[in-house]
Structure formats: structure tokens, C-alpha cells
């Protein structure tokens, strides 16, 4: 059965996103599925256009990695009218759940919690001033990871967030903002830990910390989210402490669910949650690095 699946991807704003795209493409090829790929350049309207385009073409299913949670009711309704199953990837949407087949996502609030729990355990009651590198202002991941972390440390009065700024999810902003944190907090001596909403910003910050004459991972503890290959290297070298994995392989479970659905109409559960594995310095980071380095990060 040579099915055609349309994949509306957000864009290519980060290495993780590129990995997700390449994993999805590879997976589709392996399963003999024709993948129609549409890059939305970070714009919701382009995603809506792409979905409508897929419907007009009459694809067999649509994968949607929504740029934002809201605003999908109408177009998903159209897909439903046209009897095309839609699978959401890496983010859920604010829409009645009969409009899509299933959602394969990680729980982004939970990711923040995992990071927060780790720090709580690592500090174990010692007073600790945390600086936070947020993602792009307004992105739902930013909001969720901030919330999850805050929730987790809510019951730990020893841990305090003293500065929080956006680093736009990029390495260079991560570095620049960290530099100013270091200056503003007594050359970094008042900072005990850094929580970054993604690994790229943390990697930038690590360089800033080194340039300020401090040891990342020791003088300032670092925890972040994504687990990109470079972060595993950094942890393996003791320059960072922990990262929460966000798997780029959302398409695997999605295709599996779709294939079952095509075959005999099996309805998958409405939410297929991917695991948020924590990697610390105790994990086998080099193995993780080797596994991931060719995935297109």
C-alpha cells in the first residue's frame, strides 16, 4: 500500500527540528510511505495553507507539528470532512479531540518538572540562586518549560530564580544573555545554577561561563532540555550536568498508529506520550552521542 502522507512542519529553526524532519523522512521511506513535506517557515498561516493544500491533493493522512496550540478547529474540521486522519506531533492543540486521530507528543511541562526535580535533588536543601534562559517569548514550549520548572521548585524554598531572560532558543543569544547575568551577579559568584529551556542556549552559556573564568558544571550547575548530541558531549566532559531528552522520533509512533488505522480502522489512544528521559553525568553520554550524531541535529 503506497500511501501518501502530508507533513506540515513548522520550519527549521533549530537543530532539533532538523533532526525531527530527517527522522520523519527516513522513517517514511523505510515504511514505503510517500511523504509530502511542507515547511511553514514558522508561520501558522502557512501551516493552514499547507493542510488545505494536502486536502485538495487528497492525501491519505496528515502529520501536523503545530507552531502554536490555538486556531486549528476550522482546518482540522475540513480534514475530517474530507476523511483524512490527522496526527499531531510534538505539541497538542486546543481543539476537540475528535478532530484528530492522535497526538504524539512529549509533555513539555513535565520536561520542566524533570529538570526542576533534578536540581532539587542535586542541591538537597542548600541555598541556590538559579538563572533561567527562556526560549522565544510567547512560544508555548517556553511557557510550559518555565511553568514545569517553577512548579517543581515551588516546594524548595532554598532554590530561587534570580534572573530570567529570553535567549531566543539560540546559542548566540544564550551566550550573550549569560554574559550579562554573570556581570550582573557579581561575576557569576552569586549564581549557583542555570536552567536553560533548550540545550543550544545552555551550550552558548557554557562558553560564556568559561570565558568568565568559572567552571561550568561545577561552579555553576547546568540543566537543560532536548539532549542534542553536543550536550551529551558537554556532559561527558563534565561541563554540564543534566539534560532532559525530547525525542525527535515522533513520526515512528505516528506512522505505526496510522498504519493500524489504515489497515482495519484501529483507533489509537488520543495521546501517545514520548518519554522525557533524564541524562546526567552518570548516564552513558558518549553512547547517546554516537547514537544521535548522524540524525541531522
Amino acid at each position: 500500500a503506497n500511501e501518501t502522507v502530508g507533513f506540515s512542519q513548522i520550519g527549521s529553526e533549530s537543530g532539533w527540528r532538523a533532526a525531527e524532519t530527517s527522522v520523519t523522512k527516513a522513517d517514511a521511506k523505510e515504511r514505503g510511505i510517500t511523504l509530502k513535506f511542507a515547511d511553514a517557515q514558522q508561520k501558522q498561516e502557512n501551516q493552514i495553507k499547507a493542510i488545505r493544500g494536502f486536502i485538495a491533493q487528497g492525501v491519505d493522512a496528515i502529520l501536523l507539528a503545530p507552531v502554536v496550540a490555538t486556531g486549528w478547529d476550522e482546518v482540522l474540521g475540513e480534514a475530517k470532512d474530507a476523511d483524512i486522519p490527522v496526527v499531531l506531533m510534538d505539541r497538542k492543540v486546543d481543539a476537540p479531540d475528535d478532530l484528530y486521530l492522535t497526538a504524539v507528543t512529549s509533555d513539555t511541562v513535565h520536561e520542566g518538572e524533570v529538570a526542576g526535580d533534578w536540581l532539587k535533588k542535586a542541591e538537597d536543601g542548600k541555598p541556590c540562586n538559579v538563572v533561567e534562559l527562556q526560549g522565544t517569548t510567547g512560544a508555548s514550549v517556553t511557557i510550559d518549560r518555565k511553568k514545569g520548572f517553577a512548579d517543581a521548585i515551588a516546594d524548595a524554598p532554598n532554590i530561587k530564580i534570580i534572573r530570567s531572560q529570553t535567549g531566543d532558543f539560540t546559542r548566540s543569544q544564550g551566550k550573550i544573555v549569560m554574559e550579562s547575568f554573570l556581570k550582573a551577579e557579581n561575576g557569576g559568584k552569586d549564581i549557583c545554577a542555570l536552567y536553560a529551556h533548550n540545550d543550544d542556549m545552555a551550550l552558548g552559556a557554557i562558553q560564556a561561563i568559561k570565558e568568565a573564568g568559572l567552571k561550568p558544571g561545577e561552579d555553576i550547575k547546568i540543566v537543560s532540555v532536548d539532549s542534542v548530541p553536543d550536550m551529551h558531549l558537554a556532559i561527558a566532559h563534565g561541563q554540564s550536568n543534566a539534560t532532559v531528552e525530547l525525542t525527535p522520533d515522533m513520526a515512528g509512533p505516528a506512522f505505526t498508529a496510522l498504519e493500524a488505522y489504515w489497515k482495519d480502522g484501529t483507533m489509537p489512544p488520543k495521546w501517545i506520550q514520548t518519554k522525557s528521559t533524564l541524562y546526567t553525568q552518570d548516564s552513558d553520554n558518549m553512547a547517546a552521542y554516537e547514537r544521535k550524531k548522524d540524525l541531522g541535529y
Binding site: G6, D39, I48, R52, A56, V68, E74, E78, I143
Partner: protein, 330 residues
């Protein structure tokens, strides 16, 4: 070049139909009422924005703030509908007043402080996006039933295409703008300003009023586009429509309007929008382009359209002799 101002318009229209025909040849599915309806619906907010941008560019200016204004409008509507119980229509009225006044304020700064539009509207872009953040960083869904009712207003054409009210609104905006630009004194003053602001001033064009009105129109239409966008997505999101101003400018330019002002047609903008929509539809139908090739192809097609226009314009005007005047001497 100057002898037939309509030529770029005709060229744009021809280009669109030729390109559409070529697309259909490759993907017969593209000849469906769905695709046509999508072109209208999906580009409605961009089209309305581009109408305002046409006014601005015709007058020799530029408005970079429109993308942010759309986002602000969406967030504002979402927040106000969430937090208060006022009717969406009233909210629409409020937000249109806000964006129109905002545009007028930019126009006033541009005129009275003699500052370049590029920079004033760039600051306006930062400001509006910033205000949208301040209102809400999260995307806020709009659940009012009036929205649902508006969205249910469409005509389902044979073939599955849904012609929606927003598409109609865009078409109406274009018609209204065409009338305003060609059949009112205000419209002609817009062209006059674009020809030469200094000369227009000497000829007695009320430059202050016209400049302010132009940016007010652009702001107001961006507000209207924001309303359309909020209908389109049923939500307000402060990160929405980043870079829309560049799309709108590109559409206006592809539509044959000169960025230096004074020459062009709003109808050209309509086809500029359609051409841009066609490019995207084509890319979706093709579905093999990676993220980066998508960007490269969009850039390449943009270039191709510009060159096509240049080439056609050059080929047709090189042959037109100069105007022949007989100054009958008494």
C-alpha cells in the same frame, strides 16, 4: 516606461494565469474549486494588509509595522473577549479605532517630524509586537459563539471549495481601495505625494492630512487584517505574522507598483497576492522540497517574477514611440 502605466498590471495578470496554467499542467488537481477558494481564504488577511501597503507605497512610503499590528489585534481581541463580556463587534470597533489611530500617529510623526517612514514604522513594529507580548505571551483561544457563527458563513462550491466571508472581505477591500484611489481626491493626492512630495505641496495638496490619512488607512486595514486573522485562527498569538510586512511589500511590488511611489494599481496587488499564494500552493503540491530548498525556491521565484516583469516591460516599451504632440500654433 512611463508611457503606459497599466502595462505592469497587465503583465502581472498575464503572468498569474500563465503560471496557474503551468501548475495545472503539472498537477491537474490544482484546477479545483478547493484551490481557488483556498487562494482567497488563506490570503485574505495578507491581501487586506497589502491593500493598505499599496496606499503607503504609492505615496512613496513604507509601513513595516503591519505584521505586528495584526498580531496585536489578534491578542487584543482574544484577551478582551476572554476577560470581558463585550460583543465581538464592539471589540472589532475598538481595535479598529486603536490601529487606525496608531497608524495616524505614525503618519503624523513622519510628516511633522520629517522622519523617514522606514524608521518610524520600524519603531512602530517593535512597539506593537511589544504591546502584544505585554497583553499576553501565551496564545489565547477565542471561543465566542459569534466567531463560530462567522466562520460557518461560507458557500461550499461544487468540488469542495469553501468560499468564506473573509475572502469576500478581502475582495471588497480591493474594490473599495480601487475606487478610493482612482475616483476620490484623496486617492489622487496619494499618487501626487508619491510623484513628488515637494511638488505636491507646492500644488496645494494637503500633505499633512494626506500623509496622516494614508498611514491611518494602512493601520486600520492592518487592524482589519488582524480581525480576519483572528477569525482565521480563532486565537490571538503575539508571535503570529512575523515578517508579514515583507510578504505584503513583495506582493505590492510583484503587482507592478513602484516602490519609489506614484505609479501602480491596487488591482496589481491583488494578483501579486495571488501569485505569492500560487507559489506556496505549488510548493505544497510538490511536497519534495526540504526546508532550505523551500526558501531558495521562494527566493528564486520572486526573482523570476521580477525579471519577467522587467523583461516584458522592456520588450513592450522599447517599441512605443514618444507621445506625439501637435502644438497648434496660432
Amino acid at each position: 516606461m512611463r508611457h503606459s502605466t497599466r502595462l505592469p498590471l497587465y503583465i502581472t495578470i498575464v503572468t498569474f494565469f500563465v503560471a496557474y496554467a503551468a501548475c495545472i499542467f503539472q498537477f491537474p488537481n490544482m484546477l479545483s474549486s478547493r484551490v481557488v477558494a483556498n487562494l482567497l481564504t488563506d490570503n485574505a488577511f495578507l491581501g487586506i494588509t497589502a491593500v493598505g501597503m499599496t496606499f503607503v507605497i504609492l505615496s512613496g512610503g513604507i509601513d513595516l509595522s503591519v505584521g505586528s499590528v495584526i498580531a496585536f489585534t489578534g491578542v487584543f481581541l482574544a484577551v478582551i473577549l476572554r476577560d470581558t463580556s463585550i460583543h465581538p463587534l464592539a471589540a472589532f470597533a475598538i481595535v479598529l479605532v486603536i490601529t487606525t489611530v496608531f497608524g495616524a500617529a505614525m503618519g503624523a510623526i513622519i510628516y511633522y517630524l520629517e522622519m523617514p517612514p522606514f524608521i518610524v514604522t520600524l519603531a512602530g513594529m517593535f512597539l506593537m509586537r511589544g504591546l502584544a507580548y505585554v497583553l499576553s505571551t501565551e496564545s489565547v483561544p477565542i471561543t465566542h459563539e459569534f466567531y463560530g457563527w462567522l466562520q460557518s458563513l461560507y458557500w461550499k462550491a461544487p468540488g469542495g471549495g469553501r468560499f468564506r466571508i473573509t475572502g469576500l472581505l478581502m475582495v471588497l477591500s480591493f474594490v473599495a481601495a480601487a475606487i478610493a484611489l482612482h475616483r476620490t481626491r484623496f486617492g489622487r493626492n496619494v499618487y501626487a505625494l508619491g510623484g513628488s512630495a515637494q511638488t505636491a505641496q507646492l500644488m496645494g495638496v494637503p500633505c499633512a492630512r494626506t500623509t496622516i490619512s494614508i498611514y491611518a488607512v494602512s493601520g486600520g486595514l492592518a487592524g482589519l487584517a488582524g480581525i480576519v486573522y483572528s477569525l482565521y485562527t480563532s486565537a490571538g498569538y503575539s508571535l503570529a505574522t512575523v515578517g508579514t510586512e515583507l510578504d505584503a511589500i513583495a506582493a505590492v511590488v510583484i503587482g507592478g507598483t513602484l516602490l519609489s511611489g506614484g505609479s501602480g494599481f491596487v488591482a496589481g496587488t491583488f494578483f501579486g497576492i495571488m501569485i505569492m499564494g500560487l507559489i506556496q500552493t505549488y510548493i505544497v503540491f510538490d511536497g519534495t522540497l526540504s526546508s532550505w530548498w523551500t526558501k531558495i525556491v521562494i527566493g528564486g521565484l520572486l526573482f523570476t517574477f521580477i525579471m519577467l516583469q522587467k523583461g516584458l516591460a522592456w520588450a513592450t516599451t522599447a517599441r512605443i514611440p514618444r507621445a506625439n504632440v501637435s502644438a497648434a500654433r496660432s
